[in-house]
C-alpha cells in the first residue's frame, strides 16, 4: 500500500465515532477534570493557570484522534471549571479553545506523519502547533468583556496560557506517548 493511500486511510479513520472513541473521550475529559487539581495560577495574568494536566488534552488528541482530543479539552475544561466552582459555562470560550487544541493535536498528528517519522518528536511538534493556533480563540474575551482590549487579551490571556501549556505539553505529551506506545503494542490495539 502506498504512503498516500495510508495517509488517506488515517485521515478518514480519525473522524469515525466508535465505542473506543466514546470511552477514550470520556476517560480523557474525566482525567483532565480530575488532574486539573494540580493548577498553579500564573502571577500577573487574568485567570490563567499552569495545568500540567493540559498535556492530557494534546496526548489524547494525538494518540486517539481529533474527536477524542476535542471532547477531552472541551468537556474536561468545563468539568475542571465546574469542580473549582468557576462554573461549567462561565468561560465557555476557553473550554472551546481547549477543545480546539485537542482537535488540532489529532489532525496535526496525522498530517505530520509523513514528514516527521520520530513519533515522540511528532507528538511535541503537533502539540505545540495545536496550542499556538487553538488558543487564538481566547481573543473572543474582547467581545465577552473579560479582556478590555487586544493588548490585554494578548499579554494577560493568550501569551501566558500558550507559554505555560507549551511547556507542559512539549515535555509531557512525548512522555505519555512513550509510556502508551509499548502498552498499546502489548494490548494489540
Amino acid at each position: 500500500m502506498s504512503s498516500t493511500v495510508l495517509q488517506e486511510d488515517r485521515s478518514s479513520a480519525m473522524w469515525e465515532v466508535t465505542t473506543r472513541v466514546i470511552v477514550y473521550a470520556a476517560i480523557g475529559a474525566a482525567l483532565y477534570g480530575v488532574l486539573a487539581f494540580f493548577s498553579i495560577l500564573i502571577p500577573g495574568t487574568a485567570n490563567v493557570s499552569v495545568r500540567p494536566a493540559f498535556a492530557i488534552v494534546t496526548f489524547f488528541g494525538f494518540a486517539f484522534g481529533p474527536i477524542v482530543g476535542f471532547f477531552t479539552g472541551f468537556v474536561g475544561n468545563m468539568i475542571a471549571d465546574q469542580i473549582s466552582g468557576w462554573g461549567l459555562l462561565t468561560s465557555w470560550n476557553w473550554s472551546l479553545a481547549n477543545g480546539l487544541v485537542g482537535l488540532l493535536a489529532g489532525v496535526f498528528g496525522v498530517w505530520l506523519a509523513s514528514s516527521i517519522s520520530n513519533r515522540l518528536l511528532r507528538a511535541a511538534v503537533a502539540s505545540a502547533a495545536a496550542i499556538v493556533i487553538g488558543f487564538l480563540f481566547v481573543f473572543t474575551d474582547i467581545w465577552l468583556g473579560t479582556a478590555d482590549d487586544a493588548s490585554v487579551a494578548l499579554t494577560a490571556n493568550y501569551l501566558p496560557v500558550v507559554v505555560s501549556n507549551l511547556i507542559a505539553s512539549v515535555i509531557l505529551t512525548p512522555i505519555l506517548v512513550a509510556a502508551w506506545d509499548p502498552i498499546q503494542e502489548s494490548m494489540g490495539r
Binding site: T19, I22, A25, A26, F38, L88, G145, S151
Partner: protein, 284 residues
Amino acid sequence: MNVAPRYLGRGSWLARRDPRVLLVSLALFVFTVVQVWDLRILLVLAAVAAVYYRSAAIPFEAVRVQWAYIGFFITFVVVVNTLITGGELRGYTEDELHVLFHLPLFGTPISAESLTYAIAQFLRFGSMAAVGLPIAYAIAPGDIGPAFARLGVPYKFAYAMELTFRFIPSLGADMQTTIDAQRLRGYEWEKRGRTPVGKLTRTVPLITPVTMNAIVGAEDTIDAMDLRGFGTQRRTWLRQLAYDAVDRAVLAGFVGLLVVVTYLSFTGRTDLWVPEVLISLAEG
C-alpha cells in the same frame, strides 16, 4: 481524594426541575449577562441569579471553597485588567474619566468609570457562577446523559458526557491511590519545584501512571459496551424526561430576560452606567 461534585441540592425546588432546565437556563443567562455593563440591569440579573441559586438549597459550608475561588478569580481578572490597561477604559478618552485616586506604587488612575467597571465585572461573573453552580450540585448524576441527549446532543456524545461524570470519582480514587503508592516510594507531590519546569516534572510520577491505568482500565468498559451492541442503533434511555408547567415557566423567564436585554443592547442601553455619586466624589 473526593473530586466528584456531590448531589447537595437533592430534593430542592431546583433539583426537582427537569435537568434540561438547569442547562438551558445557564446558556440563556450567560448570553444575557455578557451583553450588559449597566450596573442597574446587572443588579436585577444578580438578584435573579441569587433567587435561582437559593432555590437549589446548596449548603454554603459545602461550597465555601468554591465561592472563595470565584471571588479570588474575579478580583484577579479585575485587578490585572486595570493594571495592564493603565486605568483606561474602552469607549472613554482620558479626559472623560473622573479620577478618584491613583494606585500607590503603580500610579494607575482609578476613576469612577473604572470602579464601576470593576463592580460590573464582579456582578457579571458572580451571577454566572451562581446560575452555573447548581448544575454540579442539583442534577442527579444519572440524569446527565438523558438530559444532553434530549437537548439534541448525538446520543453517543451524550453517553460520553454521562461516562465522564461516572469516571470522575473512580479516577479521583485512583489518583489518591497513586499518590499514596508514590509516597511510599519517597515521592512527595506536595513539595513542588520552584520553576514552572520543576513544578511540571514533579507531576510526572502521578500523571503518567494515573493516565495509563485509566486507559488500560477503559478496555473493560469498551468490551462491555461492544458486547451490548453500543453504537449499532439509536440508544434509548431508561429515564424519561418531560417538562412540566413550572419548567416551562422558568425557561420562559430566562428567554424573556435574554430577549429584553438583547433589545436594550441593540438600542444602546446596556453600556456602562456610572453612578452620579462616584462622579461627584471625583469632582468634589
